[in-house]
Symmetry: C2
Subunit: 249 residues, 2 copies
């Protein structure tokens, strides 16, 4: 593990919260400002940061460029986008696309609701493994050993009264999800938000991503969210078909 790189990344994280001066960064990192300066120079050279006329450092455009490349590399995102946009348009609700990567579930695309009350989320953020509907869909498809391993590593922090709080409960839920082909989050993560999620499969049948609809209670009650399930499943099947999955056509 590289101390230097870790420090550089901590600088980026800091700048993610807003512009910073050299001294501010030095203080937060607990290192001498000379050290910070040189890290920043390297970051600036690659356009990960830039500094304005007032010598404040900001996140730079190299980051956007790289992030754009990273998102483009996920073929699933490009394939799914038109279908998810259509689902978003048809339902008017927030639609997410999430993928499993390295023991986490991450949102890789998002289409915002047209309602004024909206769920907070952002591309790149992690979904809670034990409560988000997309997580259930993705975990449910993992081979059992890995599924157990991941579940064992979860911090079962209760977000609401309905949050599953034991590995056993989650594993049972995942079995159910795998069997029925979709997952729900009935106020398990946020007290006033319900979600449904469905798997997207590639030609080999493996789940490569999950699509979900998230609706605040005040917009639609739980039962009516379940009514959206057929549309969601149709969308997921359509994306799967575009991924080359024969049965889904």
């Amino acid at each position: 593990m590289s101390q230097t790189v870790t420090r550089a990344l901590r600088i980026l994280a800091q700048l993610g919260e807003g512009e910073r001066s050299l001294d501010q960064l030095a203080e937060v990192l607990g290192v001498h400002k000379t050290t910070v300066l040189r890290l920043l120079q390297s970051l600036e050279e690659e356009r990960f940061v830039y500094r304005d006329a007032a010598y404040r450092y900001h996140l730079g455009a190299g980051l956007f460029a790289l992030s754009g490349l990273a998102l483009e590399q996920r073929g699933i995102r490009r394939i799914a986008a038109p279908h998810l946009a259509e689902l978003n348009n048809a339902t008017g609700q927030t639609v997410h696309l999430a993928a499993y990567e390295g023991g986490e579930v991450v949102y890789i695309d998002k289409f915002d609701s047209r309602h004024p009350v909206r769920m907070y989320s952002r591309i790149g953020l992690r979904a809670a493994l034990h409560s988000a509907a997309v997580s259930k869909v993705l975990l449910a498809d993992l081979p059992l050993p890995e599924r157990r391993r991941v579940v064992a590593g979860i911090d079962f922090a209760p977000h609401t009264e309905r949050t599953l709080t034991t590995p056993e409960a989650l594993l049972a839920e995942l079995e159910k999800v795998a069997a029925q082909g979709w997952a729900q989050d009935h106020a398990e993560h946020e007290a006033f938000i319900n979600c449904v999620a469905a798997p997207i499969r590639d030609a080999t049948g493996r789940v490569v991503a999950a699509a979900s609809i998230s609706v605040p209670d005040v917009v639609l009650p739980y039962e009516q969210v379940l009514d959206l399930l057929p549309q969601l499943l149709a969308t997921a099947r359509a994306v799967s078909a575009d991924c080359g999955r024969p049965e889904a056509i």
Copy 2:
């Protein structure tokens, strides 16, 4: 300047071109694989990279998250977005938003054309300083000393027959742009693309960003691109007004 950080960022750049194995990265960087491994471990910890089941490294979600934060921080982007979307919708053409940062001009937002023939660009990429219309708008507002300094540093690579190839020609063009309040790129960057760009100003009157319309020749001839200028200028004024610029209201 930190060798270690520079190497880490080179790793990210590599991964931007596609997945890589440890050995591949070691070879490209010209360092021992042990070294690469430890850099990757630090990057992985902050979710800048992740590795799949086949031990291939990919760009990770931490990057998306940070990039999202960075874009959110640019208030101008949020302010401009609805106006640019409307312009995109009204004209059907590709609309860009660009900003000057640290001696470069960078695209910070983009709304794609509905035409099948589209200009290639991506958020985060640099615009050519001596040919892109947005660059002219942004450079034209710099204080003269900095303007001269930046122009002196440009590599006047000719992209097409019409590309300006001398500092003098560019400086003269910038004077003209500053006077008329908009800029054009008449096939100076890509032989078959014409652009017009307009400045967005904040309350102090400084140009904080530039909006542009880019149209391939085959879609609209040059003269008709100029016909779009009134709409573009109206959009730029509307965004400026939202930025608090009194005269623009």
